[in-house]
């Protein structure tokens, strides 16, 4: 059964809030080899003009993927996760993610395209802070490989 194209254009209910703390930022920074003290040292972060330690540029993925989960896991969406590969990813940061943030993620199924037996699904997630101000716009394209 192929992916349900009727989901194209739908916006999911907001997910979260996701609490961001210094320990999580330090853990993510270590995992991607980021040694910039703005991730681990609040003083260094403040000296660089941030209110507290900031997340590495791709850490938004953690909150983005949690915001997509309700769609990916919806049986009606008919996405076989064992056949999913990541095709493309982009992040536009309106400001860095900072320790203390409470992020909400709102995902829209931007498009579902069928090509060569595969389905390409583009998802746009807007991460906003507790004051509803934009933090990051994340766009990912996942490819659901067709059955043999």
């Amino acid at each position: 059964m192929s992916v349900n194209t009727e989901f194209a254009g739908r916006t999911l209910p907001p997910a979260g809030p996701f609490a961001v703390d210094a320990a999580l930022i330090a853990q993510f920074a270590a995992a991607v080899g980021a040694t910039d003290p703005v991730h681990t040292d609040a003083e260094a972060a403040r000296a660089a003009g941030y209110p507290d330690v900031i997340a590495p540029p791709t850490m938004a993925v953690r909150f983005e993927q949690q915001s997509q989960a309700a769609y990916i896991e919806d049986p009606d969406a008919r996405i076989d996760f064992s056949r999913v590969v990541h095709g493309e990813q982009s992040y536009t940061h309106h400001r860095p993610i900072v320790a203390g943030d409470e992020l909400t993620g709102t995902t829209t199924v931007t498009s579902i395209r069928e090509a060569g037996g595969h389905s390409m699904i583009t998802l746009t997630t807007e991460l906003t802070d507790a004051g509803s101000a934009p933090v990051c716009t994340a766009v990912s394209t996942i490819v659901v490989r067709g059955g043999e």
């Binding site: 995992a31 540029p57 953690r62 990813q89 860095p96």
Partner: protein
């Protein structure tokens, strides 16, 4: 300290930087990112779905590339845009692998924003395609 726009010129090369990746790296990344797909940790599972071995999360590779960019800028908060395609996988055997990351300055705006084209290869194969970062210089 962020790099000054006056110290940057179009055509400037960054790297290459060789980044090691082991199975322990992928476990740490899985825990930090929340992506616990077993193809990134479990050799037997990876082979059962037709992969040659455990493969790195594409997003780990993108993250490692962002670190190279951020280190060059001098302030990770200055990486305003970052995008890529995932063109090939990074196979991570039991004794680990290496990803080579480099970048080049392709554009420099009057407002101090630089556009970088980033290259990442593993075993000589490009693993990121059309990988572009926009950074804000001092």
């Amino acid at each position: 300290m962020a790099r000054s726009r006056h110290d940057v010129s179009v055509g400037e090369q960054i790297g290459p930087v060789t980044v090691p990746v082991g199975r322990d790296t992928l476990v740490a990344y899985a825990n930090a990112s929340g992506d616990q797909n077993p193809i990134h940790q479990d050799e037997e599972f990876a082979r059962s779905v037709g992969l040659p071995d455990v493969i790195a999360h594409g997003m780990w590779t993108m993250g490692a590339a962002s670190t190279v960019v951020a280190d060059w800028v001098g302030d990770a908060g200055r990486v305003e845009q970052f995008r890529t395609r995932f063109t090939s996988m990074v196979v991570v055997p039991r004794d680990g692998a290496e990803v080579e990351i480099s970048a080049a300055v392709k554009g420099l705006d009057d407002d101090g924003r630089a556009t970088l084209h980033v290259t990442a290869t593993a075993e000589g194969t490009k693993v990121l395609g059309r990988c572009v970062a926009v950074v804000r210089l001092d």
